[in-house]
Amino acid sequence: MQFGIFTVGDITTDPTTGRTPTEHERITAMVTIARKVEEVGLDVFATGEHHNPPFVPSSPTTLLGYIAAQTERIVLSTATTLITTNDPVKIAEDYAMLQHLAEGRVDLTLGRGNTGPVYPWFGQDIRQGIPLALEHYALLRRLWREDIVDWSGEFRTPLQGFQSTPRPLDGVPPFVWHGSIRTPEVAEQAAFYGDGFFSNHIFWPASHTAKMVGYYRQRFEHHGHGTAAQAIVGLGGQVFMRKNSQDAVNEFRPYFNNAPVYGHGPSLEEFTEQTPLTVGSPQEIIDRTLGFRDYVGDYQRQLWLMDHAGLPLKVVLEQLDLLGEEVVPVLRAEFAKNRPATVPDAPTHASLRAAADARAIAKTAVRPGSPAGAAFGLAASNPKGA
């Protein structure tokens, strides 16, 4: 199981000091946080993509490429990459390039974005959001998997004899997660391709997340990629902790009350009750996080939102220390208990490459009937016991 951080990249005034970081401070803080993620033994750093203030990360592969050079182990990901308004050709090229520079430590999470005007700013029509996401992703897959692509569609200039360069590292495209808060079509898309499904989770009640993940799992099985339990699920989470539970509540409350998105709305107590937000001691974080498995099943990736709402960098780094020292080691051990051996880990470049190699060997041996799902790097999990 993978644990990590996802950042929105918001510039928010610290409500306790009135201080607002500059763009430069925020961007360098994100790099510091990513390095800390590696240092404390977490597995994933993911950045959002936004094209409007108060958010800074408009250029994810630039940021992740720099972080790749400063880290050795963590997986670099996105939360999310805008499949609607980005040109899929540019996504194919940028992330293949990043894959080479990061030695394969790259995957991405696709989303449609949450800011209406971004569509017209990038020449698209928000009313076509879902058809855009579907067509763009279908093209992106082909660009990574076929050397020469002839293509025409609704939303982009046709391509004749186009080759996206560089080709994916080792011929293995990055693993893709599909993120959505409430769109069944996105869960269906993830299931159709046998890709991962990432449920943002943090702004909605558990019952809703359970429904969406359940839907994805069943459709994953329906499309022949393995059993429902073998589908690749990621969850968001949001925590703030101190050794003493009440200290955590007191310290976090002003940040909560003034936070973008949910500030000035429900109380901290209501929000923690109704969503996965947990504010308390490391043990409370552990207990709540382990509870996620009760309603989504054994899953592959847990990311937390940490550096938002104006929390100072120093506090964020302290939070990461607590996660790395006290929370994640326990979660790793506990999540491993009673986890069926047939439930796969999150695909990585290494596992996808091994699956591709196995597929190539199987092909030369002319052994028909390789298990469904092999094309998506899930062969190692041997779905359906084939």
């Binding site: 702004f203 909605w204 429904k211 839907y215 709305g265 429900p266 109704q274």
Partner: protein
């Protein structure tokens, strides 16, 4: 015996409220009309005042609290809806509109609706037809032709030269009852994540 579910939304703010009084009268008259046709009706009444903070929190966070969720389920899953608001500043109250703003905009499609409103004087009565009716039309609901407005004086009038409040309630209830009788909304599933039975 055939059964139907009727939801009543009242946006009155005071206790007791004339808006709630009108809502109750409309509900009782509709239940009586349905009973005449052998239809048993359960009524669930939502006082928006009780969930006012939940409605605003949903506006801000994007998701309903469990309390609000139950109210939304009761309304969107009903066979018919009676919606009554006080008229404030020329239109429905902000709370009334906010409740309908947090609903999925397809969740009231084909819903039989009876609209009602209250205010101090009859000069506000057209708000029913220039504000409430278009809102429900946008939501693709089926709004009964008769809308019922009660000014303060209606609660004490019996002027025989004009249609009285009870007359108007009775006519509106008859129209809604006819629509509800043939509505099967409460028996249909609208969960987008519901999987077809295998």
């Amino acid at each position: 015996m055939t059964t139907r579910r009727l939801a009543v939304v009242s946006a009155g703010l005071s206790r007791p409220s004339s808006t709630r009084m009108l809502a109750d009268k409309l509900a009782a008259a509709t239940v009586a009309r349905l009973a005449e046709n052998g239809i048993e009706t359960t009524v669930e009444t939502i006082e928006l005042r009780d969930i006012a903070r939940d409605v605003m929190n949903n506006m801000l966070t994007g998701f309903p609290s469990p309390t609000l969720d139950a109210a939304i389920e009761a309304v969107t899953g009903a066979d018919g809806l009676i919606a009554v608001t006080p008229i404030f500043t020329g239109s429905y109250s902000g709370l009334f509109k906010s409740f309908f703003d947090v609903l999925d905009n397809q969740s009231l499609t084909d819903m039989p609706v009876l609209i009602g409103a209250t205010a101090g004087t009859a000069r506000h009565s057209l708000a029913l037809d220039h504000a409430l009716r278009p809102m429900f039309t946008y939501l693709h609901s089926v709004v009964a032709p008769t809308a019922v407005f009660a000014a303060s004086e209606d609660w004490g009038s019996g002027d025989r030269r004009v249609k009285t409040l009870p007359d108007r309630i009775d006519r509106a209830a008859g129209e809604l009852a006819a629509l509800v009788a043939v509505s099967d909304r409460s028996a249909t599933v609208r969960d987008p994540f519901a999987l077809a039975a295998v």
